[in-house]
Amino acid sequence: MNKSSKIPGAREALAAFDQGLDRKLAAAFESCLHCGRCADSCVFFLGIGETALIPGNRLRALSRIYGRRRTLIGRISSFLSKSKDRPPNLEELHKAAFGSCTMCGRCETFCPAGINTGELMFLARSMLEASDRTPENLKRTLELALSSGNNMGITKEDFAETVEWLSEELVDEFGEDMGKIPVDSTEADALYLVNPREIKYYPLSLQAAAKVLNAARESWTLSSACFDVTNYGFFSGNPATAGKLATRVIGAAETLGCRRIIVSECGHGYNSLRWNASLWRGEKSEIEVVSIVELLDEYLRSGRIVADKSKNSQRMTLHDPCNLVRRGGVIEPQRRILDSVASEWAEMQPNRQYNYCCGGGGGLRVQTAQKKRSLQAGRMKAEQIRATGAALVAAPCHNCIDQIDDLNKEYDLKIKMTTLVELVAESLVLETRSE
């Protein structure tokens, strides 16, 4: 019996490490200069101040495993001391991977060697998942997504009912053409995916999206069986499950004959489908993935919709969700959108790929035990927002909206939150569509 087999899950964790260690991660382990530059990038360290939270420090447990199993000298010494299968310190890994990192990737932009601690934390999470140490709430959310089709367990009936009244309201106000919310249409060009939070708590964003998509004469549909864009397999560090969830929505689009997927304002949902799905699934999809943010920009630029910016007169600022911007590459469209639909808006400093994480990503918001820490990590974001003097914060990510809402209460920011699609819908000039 080797040492790992004495600790439950240790052997599985090491197997997950070996399986998850790809070229980029190996290069990261080999290149850390111990320069500490990552300290200046991390919202957890900046917000809380414990040196244990410095990304370079959080890697220690993982680096030791790499050292023993993969480096030349580590292999020789672990062979001689028979320590190759020494069990990993799963408690230390757990602390580092959950509750101390949102996998936002800001460290990667600061690190001279380009090391993304978040990706290494994904590896740590996969080890913890393999050893059945995923935080309970995260595990339950994932199970619910797998069993019910969405992470909030919304039934098909509730979904249909919500969509129906949203559509009725739109029809009453703007007429049949503008008010329709197609569901399970096999004639549509695009499948629109939402964050289930929109159906359950924030239906006005779906209503706004419907209004804009219809105004742009977009050929779109929702799917009653598969409307959830979120991917908690990503947060759990389980590439196989993440791939399964991605396959489910891609399959739904294929079934309906859609050629593309429009992702609602959900940062990790976009990152998952646009960039990670092919890696997790091991195959590319023919289905094009676009964020509604890119689409809104395209509509405005091409004249498919026209906006009157005087309709949004509050001073506002823009939050850059990590998964959409730094990890997603959607950087300028949201700025052009605000230029078109907002009378006055100001950038946060820093912004774009250097913007601070809100502290609520990486599945932290469903880990209720991490609530306090998540709010502390959001301190930099709160200070950024306050410095703009904005009364309204546009955040193209529903998870970020919830988190910044909580930061608003915690740091008394006196702000309101909105999505971009709501701003666009509010500013639409319906009479003067160019066509």
């Binding site: 990552c38 480096t71 092919s278 590459g329």
Partner: protein
């Protein structure tokens, strides 16, 4: 065989071979890991991203230079001076590289390399002190970091002393042996970053470009 001829001959070649082979093996162990894929259609050229990423990291990041101006200047200065000494110090460029590669080139004057050596020794000492005093850097430091810095400092100081015939008669041999120890140690410690750094930057740059983000 005298110590000096051993240090300048067989030992130098042995250390160089260990260094080069060790670093090559280290890179090979990285490159033989599976690469990610298949990728979604890229927004920008991954090859261009990998290349531009080799230099883009020197652009100061928002807030970093303001918070760490001295440290940034010291780190850049150290690397530049070490490069200058290693390749253009008269003894190195005329003898060491001739011995190892069979080629030599025009060296800097000894006055210039003296200045470079002094600056390198001082900046390394300053960075070491910074590592000890600055909470964030100390927290991520391990024994290997101090050992590497100490060994490198010893190599620089003995090299300067040997060039000026300071200290004991065997200073030249001491310098050679320390430098050879440094070469042998290089593939096993953080000095390995002289090659892995570029691999990591290339992968990071390619992925960033693919996603449409500046590396």
């Amino acid at each position: 065989m005298s110590l000096v001829s051993l240090a300048e001959g067989h030992l130098l070649r042995f250390a160089a071979v260990v260094c080069v082979a060790g670093l090559a093996l280290r890179v090979l162990l990285v490159l033989t890991r599976r690469s990610r894929g298949p990728h979604s259609p890229a927004l920008k050229s991954p090859v261009f991203g990998a290349l531009i990423s080799q230099v883009s990291w020197v652009v100061p990041k928002p807030g970093y230079l303001r918070r760490n101006p001295i440290r940034t200047v010291l780190a850049v200065t150290l690397h530049l001076t070490l490069f200058g000494i290693l390749f253009f110090e008269p003894y190195h460029s005329v003898y060491v590289w001739e011995e190892l590669l069979g080629v030599s080139w025009e060296p800097f004057s000894s006055e210039v390399t003296d200045v470079l050596s002094i600056i390198a020794a001082l900046t390394l000492a300053a960075l070491l002190i910074d590592r000890l005093l600055r909470r964030t850097v100390r927290a991520v430091s391990g024994s290997g970091d101090y050992f590497t810095a100490g060994l490198l400092e010893a190599v620089i100081i003995t090299g300067y002393a040997a060039a000026h015939s300071y200290g004991p008669e065997a200073m030249h041999e001491v310098h050679m042996l320390l430098a050879e120890a440094f070469l042998v140690y290089a593939p096993f410690g953080k000095i390995g970053h002289i090659v892995t750094f570029f691999v990591s930057r290339a992968i990071h740059g390619a992925e960033s470009a693919r996603r449409g983000v500046a590396p």
